[in-house]
Every structure is written in C-alpha cells, then in structure tokens.
C-alpha cells in the first residue's frame, strides 16, 4: 500500500514538473512578450531597458531563469512583471473568494444532483424523469459565461433582485456574503447538476437489478428502504469519486469564467488577467496552483480506489 501511494505521489511531482516546464517554454518562445520592454515604460531608451533586463535577471540563460522562478515560487518571493506585486500573496488573497464560490457551488450541485438523480431513477420512464432529464440536458448545454451574463441582465439589472457582481468577505457580513454569491453559485452549479444527476440515475438503474437488491426486497424491506439504504448508497461511490476530480478542476481553473463575469476577486480572475497580459510569473504560479489541486484530488481518488479494490494496487487493468 505504501509503495502504491509513494508511486502515485512521485507521479504527481513528475506531472507538476512537466507542466511548469511547458508553461515556461510557451511564454519564452512567444515573441513580443518581453517584460523588460513593458516595465521600462512607454518612453524608454535602450539603456533603460538594458538595466531593467539585468535587474530582473532576464539576460540569464533560460534554464537558470527557470530554476530562479521555481525557487521564487516556493519561497513566496515571486513578483509579477506587470504590476511589481508579490504573486504568491495575491493568490493567497484570492483564495477566500475562489473557495467561497467553489465550495458553495459544490454543496448546491451535489445536493440537487442527488435529489434529481434519485427522483429520476425512481420514476424512470415517466413524466418526472423526462422533465428532469430535459432540465439536466439543457443545463449541460449552456456556456457558463453566457448563463452568467443572462442571469445578471435579468435578475440584477431588469429586476434588481441581486447585486451586480462583487464580493463581500464572509468575515465582514455573512448574510451579505451569501447574497452576493447566490447567482455565481447557481451559475457554476447548473452545469454539474445536469451531469451528475444523470450519472446517478444510470448508476441507480443499474444497481436496482443487482442480486443484493433482490435479496433486500426478499428480506421484507420497504421499497424506500431498499432504495436509499442499498441502491443509493452504492450508486454514490462513483459519484463521490467523480466529484473529487471535478472539484479539483473547478478550483484549479474552472472558475475563471464565473469569477470574470461576476467580478469576484478570486484566483480565477487573477489568472485571467495574467494570461491576457502575458505576464509569466503569476501565470506560472496560478497554473501550478491549479494543476496541484487537480493532481491532488486525482491522486486521492486513485488511492481510495486502490484501498477498495486490491487488484488495482497490484498493477492490473485500471478501471475505465
């Protein structure tokens, strides 16, 4: 077991390393993202630019620059080219908004997805099932940012039900914090509710025909007890593992669009700005942050599977 975990952790580190190298290369191979020229200002002369280059260490060979940058990330000393601010601090400051958004949305999407999936499976083939299926399918067919724009327009401008988009800290005023996040939570959740409720539905339908369910019925348990105690519980396992992966993705960068449209000062918004200005330091840091979360949850899920299914540990075919 320990060897398995160790191998997965090593794999994690290798993947993160590969990603950091790729990001670094993308931005050093791109022409015209020369940071010294940008920092030196609109009137700069060649001397000034040369001095800036030397100060920032940009005249060093690429591998040296890479190592310096990675060192700066881990010691929290990385500064952005565009704004001269500490990148790690900015990410840290963006965490409350991003986590507020992602965790809140996750709670909503999981509860609603389980509810809808359960109802859909129980009433399979009938009207309720069809209606929920349609809703789910519409949910996963919408571009997130478009939904956000439409919601803002109708519920915040036409009818002033919700605020126009900004963030209030939880510690300042919990009620206001939640009020400002209702629309963003809903927007982010819609996509996942659709997807998860359908997965739960199909898992439950598969499970309902298994032998152990027939046994439970034979034992005299009510239909309801059968459904919830046996079918639902067993169907949740793949859901939980999927959730692990998706939550990692959402925190890792899936929230960029929602944060941008709703103007939430989180890591996603910061990432969007960094990319548009081709600012390598924050870009590298944010990508590492995102990848770290994705890989972390991925690894946790893999380890959990291995705990449950010994065949995987021993290197046989991985589940599809």
């Amino acid at each position: 077991m320990a060897r398995f975990i160790a191998r997965r952790l090593l794999g994690m580190v290798a993947v993160l390393f590969a990603i950091s190298v790729i990001v670094f290369l993308i931005f050093n191979v791109v022409p015209n993202s020369d940071p010294a020229a940008r920092i030196a200002g609109k009137n700069a002369d060649p001397d000034l630019i040369a001095r800036v280059n030397a100060d920032l260490g940009l005249d060093q060979p690429l591998p040296v620059q890479y190592v310096t940058m990675m060192k700066q990330i881990f010691t929290g000393q990385l500064t952005s080219y565009a704004s001269n601010r500490n990148v790690v601090e900015q990410i840290w400051e963006g965490l409350p908004a991003t986590f507020s958004l992602c965790i809140g949305a996750a709670v909503i999407w999981m509860s609603l997805a389980v509810l809808f999936g359960y109802l859909s499976a129980v009433h399979a083939g009938r009207f309720a099932d069809r209606a929920l299926t349609v809703l789910s399918l519409v949910g996963i067919s919408m571009p997130v940012f478009w939904l956000a724009a439409i919601l803002l327009y109708f519920l915040s401008f036409k009818v002033q039900l919700f605020p126009t988009g900004s963030y209030v800290d939880l510690t300042e005023d919990p009620l206001d914090w939640a009020y400002h996040l209702v629309l963003p939570w809903f927007t982010l959740a819609v996509l996942f509710i659709g997807f998860y409720s359908r997965v739960l539905r199909s898992n439950m339908l598969d499970a309902m025909n298994e032998d152990y369910v027939r046994t439970a019925r034979a034992k005299g348990l009510s239909e309801r007890q059968v459904r919830i105690r046996h079918v639902l519980r067993n169907s949740m396992i793949p859901i939980v593992t999927l959730f692990g992966l998706d939550f990692g993705m959402v925190v890792g960068g899936g929230a960029i669009l929602t944060e941008t449209v709703y103007n939430l000062p989180g890591v996603g918004l910061y990432a969007g700005e960094a990319i548009r200005s081709l600012d390598l330091p924050p870009l590298m840091a944010v990508t590492m942050f995102g990848a770290f979360f994705i890989v972390l949850f991925n690894t946790v899920v893999d380890v959990a599977y291995a705990v449950l299914d010994p065949r995987i540990r021993l290197g046989e075919a991985a589940p599809a």
Binding site: G11, A14, V15, L16, A18, I19, I22, V23, I26, F27, V29, V30, P31, N32, S33, A124, G125, L137, V138, I140, S141, M142, P143, V144, F145, W146, A149, I150, L152, Y153, F157, S202, L205, D206, M208, N209, M249, G252, G253, G254, I256, L257, T260, A271, G272, I275, R276, L278, L283, V286, T287, G290, A291, I294, V295, N298, A317, A318, P319, A320
Partner: protein, 342 residues
C-alpha cells in the same frame, strides 16, 4: 460496451437472428423519436448555416464583416441610422436586412450569426476529429503494448489532463495568435482557424483516450486476441482488425458528445479573446461583443448563446440516444423495472 444482438421490444425473434448488430441498433434508435428528432435538428442547423452566403447575398445584401456604421437603411419608408450617433445599434425587426438588428460596427447580426455558426460548428467537428484520431491511436498503443509504452503515454495524458483546461487553451491561444505555429515544414498563421481547432482537439484527448484505453486493456485479455497472436498476426493487424472494431460504438458516442464539448470550449475561448480571431465571427465572439452592450441591446448576447444551447442540446440528446441504441442493456433494465411495478 460490446454490441450484443438483443431483440428490441416489439421485434420478433425471427427477425433478429443472424442480423447485423448495427441494424439492430438502428432499429432501437428509430424507436427513440426524441433523439432522432434532435439529430435531424442538428443537421438542419448545419444546413442553414451552410446556406449563409445565400442569405448574405440575396436577403441581407451585406457580408459578415462589412461595417456600416454611418449608413442608413430604409425601414417603413424612413431612413434610419444603422448605428445611432450615440453608438446604439439598430434593434431586431421583421425585415430582410438586419433581421436581428445590427451590432456596434453596423454589421448585420443575422448574417454574422449564420457565418459564425459555420465557424463554430466547423471547429467543433474538426476538433472532434483531431481528438478522436489522437485518442484512438494513444488508446490502441497503450492498451495493446502495455508496459513502458503505456506508462509513458499515460503520463503524457496525465499532464494534459492536469493542466487546467481553460488556462491551457487561453495560454496557447494567446501565445500562438501573434506569430502562428511553425513546426518544421508546417506553418500555420496566427489567425488561422486551425489554431483553436488544434488546441481544443488536444485538450480533450485524455477524456476520450482514458476510457478507450480501459476498454482495450479489458479486451486484450479475451481469448480472441490470444488466438490472433497465436495465428501470427502482427500488432498492427490486431489493433486495427480485432481491437478497433470492438470499440467503434464507444468511439461513435464519444465523438458525438465531444462535438458538443468542443463547441462550448470554443465559445469560452473566444469569449476570453483566445479563440477565433476578430474580425471573424463565431458564436463565442458574438457573445463577447454583445456583452459590451448588454444593457441597451441584450439581443446581441442572448441570440448567439441561444444558438449554442440549441445546437449543443440537440447533440447531447442525439448522443444519448445513440448510446442507448448501441448499449441496450440499460434500456432493458428500465423496461424490466417498469414491468416489475405494474
């Protein structure tokens, strides 16, 4: 997911025996009116978008990128500004020209919508093709050879998978937009449509490759493969001749659903400025442009988004129907469940 010749309900056993599983799948699909309807809807949307030049030439008399900021158009006998002096564009109305109104550059929204649809759908299809080809190759190689080839390929898939999708897409899109892509002999211009196609195609490879690899690994253990090896078939013949046909139904379903995902990703990238390059239209860029004017001209944002929803929805429903048709077990379970209750 291996197609098994089960009899669809209502089809006599005699008709089933000896029938091609594909034909049976088609029978099942035919019974699913909704899915079929959505499939036709998608085809209809594609057809209408392909007819964009006809609309542009004969009805609207303008191209998708033609600006008409200071021009006027005759509406009910009155010369009306296409773009008012304060910048507000003409709204929608029942007329040939500017059916859906104008955007801030005075361009005909309907014309741009149709041309934009061509671009968005083309990108969705082409990227799906790219993803499928790459995923199938990777899955076959990794699944058949296993060992260190599988290890390396799986690591590569892990790296792509771990890269935050949007960040990778935007980073590549922005980076390649300026100078384009030069790989030895192949040179692609920065504003070519192939840049977003390749990026979107690449990003989704792990999503398709992993499940396919899993299936290949499972199939690898079956006797018919052992038999093929014993017969002395080379790896290529086994991969293409024995393994590939058994995953075709999975590929078809994934391909359909992948088109939908690609269109959504393209719209997100274009919205953030890293997808289709201006002045070309795609539904994503139209939403981005319209967003600037959402308070005075909301239709500029609503309409292209609605088109995306309808198109993607029809693909999702049709894809679901395909999956049900190709994998009947789930269906039978539903029917048995129903029967048990009555």
């Amino acid at each position: 997911m291996v197609a098994v010749p089960e009899a669809p309900p209502g089809v006599p056993e005699s008709q089933v025996q000896g029938r091609n599983p594909w034909y049976l799948a088609w029978l099942r699909l035919r019974r699913n009116k909704v899915a079929l309807g959505c499939g036709l809807l998608f085809v209809l949307i594609v057809a209408v978008c392909l007819a964009a030049p006809l609309w542009a030439d004969y009805v609207a008399h303008t191209g998708p990128n033609d600006n008409h900021i200071t021009d006027t158009v005759l509406i009910d006998g009155v010369e009306t500004d296409i773009v008012a002096p304060d910048g507000t564009p003409l709204g929608p109305g029942l007329r040939g020209r500017y059916l859906l109104g104008a955007d801030q550059n005075g361009r005909d929204v309907m014309v741009r919508l149709l041309y934009g649809g061509r671009t968005s759908i083309y990108i969705g299809l082409a990227a799906a093709a790219v993803t499928t080809v790459l995923a199938v190759v990777v899955a076959l190689l990794a699944g058949y050879y296993r060992g260190w080839i599988d290890a390396v390929l799986s690591r590569v898939l892990d790296v792509i998978w771990a890269f935050p999708v949007l960040l990778l897409g935007i980073a590549l899109g922005t980076a390649l937009a300026i100078g384009g892509l030069k790989l030895g002999v192949i040179a692609i211009a920065g504003d070519s449509i192939w840049i977003p196609i390749l990026i979107i195609g690449l990003v989704y490879v792990p999503y398709m490759a992993r499940p396919l690899r899993g299936e290949i690994l499972a199939l690898r253990e079956k006797e018919f493969v052992e038999a093929a090896v014993a017969q002395g078939m080379g790896p290529l013949r086994i991969m293409v001749g024995e393994l590939l046909p058994n995953i075709v139904s999975t590929i078809i379903v994934f391909f359909t659903l992948n088109i939908a995902n690609n269109m959504l990703l393209e719209s997100a990238l274009s919205f953030l400025g890293a997808g289709v390059r201006p002045p070309n239209a795609s539904w994503g860029t139209m939403i981005a442009d319209g967003y600037q004017m959402i308070y005075t001209a909301p239709h500029l944002t609503i309409v292209p988004g609605l088109m995306i929803v309808v198109t993607v929805l029809s693909l999702n429903v049709f894809g679901d129907g395909l999956r049900d048709a190709l994998d009947p077990k789930a269906r039978i379970r539903i029917e048995a469940n129903d029967a048990g209750r009555h």
